[in-house]
């Protein structure tokens, strides 16, 4: 968990400076305190603006997913910390192309307050707003309390599908309906093997034994369902599939997109070892696998671990998922 950085308090600002310098065709820094990134060619006239945001340290989430067919702007907090109300409001303004703004982000208390408050400010400026929260982490609350669940890698699907919907020039209500449908279609579970270090804190987010893993741990180190000896790849994959299908079974013949995601340090080699099992299990369950994703889509810096997401599709969502989109981290 060694980090290459300068001043920890400048970590996010320097990161954003580099990100926008490297990919000026996608990203541009806006706003007073340079914590808002917007689409370089935005806002797009007459298109619903899509906004996300939250704490840094999860690239490509959130900022990475700005681009055609994806998000229009993001407000970026310090590592694992919410952006300010003013930053969120600036992101909303930057995304507004005259057809209203939809915020799509993960269900974390601080973010929810700040996005809600920013939305109220925007209403004063006569900009329509709507919100879709991701609550895909099945490990973060029981099914009866699904409203309290946190949002994790399912965000990727919601961004993609909402982005494609907005690209059709559907109105705010329709884009919101489709984004909500995508959010509702996702289930995720993660497992952590090693922690990461928040630059300003300088210490690991949690402690864990050399031979241990924690199933269900959240992307900021939120406690999971069990901690125990590191299991084999096949055992881990099978348990994750079980947990996701228990929470939302596959309908026979239904299209499902699986995302085998690295939390950061875990290399793609290991993700592919896991993917074998995931694909077999989905096929056994009768699913039709559509656009499987394997890689680093939602991370926690140098954390070791993986998450698995299933996005349960239908005739409406599948084409939106597969519609063209581009950003510096992903091309469809």
């Amino acid at each position: 968990m060694k980090k290459i950085l300068n001043d920890p308090y400048r970590y996010v600002d320097e990161m954003l400076a580099g990100l926008t310098a490297a990919h000026p065709q996608y990203y541009v820094l806006v706003g007073d305190d340079r914590r808002v990134v917007a689409r370089a060619d935005g806002p797009v006239d007459g298109k619903v603006g899509l906004v996300s945001g939250g704490g840094s340290g999860h690239l490509p989430i959130f900022t990475g997913y700005i681009g055609p067919g994806l998000l229009d702007a993001c407000a970026i907090g310090d590592v694992f910390a919410s952006p300010s109300v003013d930053q969120v409001a600036d992101a909303m303004r930057a995304a507004d192309g005259g057809a209203g703004v939809l915020s799509v982000y993960g269900n974390y208390g601080g973010d929810v307050m700040n996005f809600d408050m920013a939305a109220e400010m925007l209403e004063f400026e006569d900009i329509d707003t709507a919100t879709v929260l991701l609550r895909d982490d099945v490990a973060s609350a029981a099914p009866e309390e699904a409203e309290r669940r946190r949002g994790v890698a399912g965000m990727v699907y919601a961004f993609k599908i909402a982005g494609a919907a907005a690209d059709t020039r559907a109105d705010l209500a329709e884009v919101t309906r489709l984004a909500q449908k995508a959010a509702d279609a996702c289930r995720s579970v993660g497992a952590a093997l090693t922690p990461c270090v928040v630059p300003q804190a300088g210490v690991p987010t949690f402690e864990i034994g050399d031979d241990e893993m924690e199933m269900g741990m959240g992307i900021h180190g939120e406690p999971g369902m069990w901690r125990g000896a590191l299991r084999t790849a096949d055992e881990i994959a099978n348990e994750m599939v079980d947990r996701l299908l228990d929470d939302k079974p596959v309908e026979a013949g239904a299209p499902v997109s699986p995302l085998v995601n690295s939390l950061g340090a875990t290399p793609p080699e290991e993700l592919y070892i896991l993917y074998r099992v995931v694909a077999n299990r989905l096929e056994e369950a009768g699913a039709e696998i559509v656009m499987p994703l394997v890689g680093r889509y939602a991370t926690s810096m140098e954390m070791t671990g993986v998450s698995l997401t299933f996005c349960h599709l239908d005739e409406e969502l599948a084409p939106l998922l597969q519609a063209p989109a581009a950003c510096a981290f992903w091309r469809v």
Partner: protein, 202 residues
């Protein structure tokens, strides 16, 4: 003793409050670190700095002045506490819009309205062991009071009492919910920060 709350009162209060908040920042960070992410002192310091910057030029309209103070807590940081304070201040701002003076006796009602708005914003209820419980207790304690010095003392007494009553209960919202067990026996950091605000107003 028939003074009233004005923008001038606010401006002078900031002069006492800001240095006090800065002086207790480390303590608040520590309290937050035990069951949260340890940034509450930073939040209060940033807020204090923003307040100082606007203290000299608060508009006479009390609503506008309170709105300016609220904005001091939505800039810079995105912490829950800052947003909640801003929510409470904005609620008061709306109630005071168009007035350049407000009776001290109105403060209790303003706090009540703030609690409602803050509960709405954060989804917490009274009893969840958050700053809401101290503000609510303060609102109760201030009913019909109209002497600012006495009000501050009454508020502090109510706050101390609330801190004590809640110490051995678990936190039920925010980051601290993750550490519900651990939070038993510890003061809620947001309540402590509210006490320091009151101390700063003394």
């Amino acid at each position: 003793m028939t003074t009233q709350l004005t923008a001038e009162t606010l401006s002078r209060a900031i002069g006492r409050l800001a240095p006090h908040l800065e002086s207790v920042a480390a303590e608040l960070n520590q309290a937050d670190a035990r069951i949260g992410d340890g940034d509450l002192g930073i939040t209060m310091t940033k807020g204090a700095r923003e307040l100082r910057a606007v203290a000299g030029e608060l508009p006479d309209d009390l609503g506008a002045a309170l709105m300016t103070c609220a904005r001091a807590f939505t800039k810079g940081g995105g912490s829950s506490y800052g947003t909640l304070l801003a929510t409470g201040l904005m609620t008061a701002a709306k109630a005071c819009r168009g007035k350049s003076t407000v009776d001290w006796t109105a403060v209790s009602g303003l706090l009540d309205a703030a609690v409602v708005a803050m509960a709405d914003r954060g989804g917490a209820s009274l009893g969840d062991k958050t700053v809401l419980d101290t503000i609510d207790a303060t609102a109760r304690a201030l009913v019909d009071l109209d002497d600012p010095a006495a009000m501050t003392e009454a508020a502090l007494a109510a706050t101390e009492d609330t801190l004590d009553r809640f110490r051995d209960r678990p936190n039920r919202v925010g980051r601290a919910r993750m550490f519900a067990e651990k939070s038993i026996g510890l003061h809620d950091p947001g309540m402590l920060a509210f006490r320091e605000i009151l101390c700063g107003l003394r």
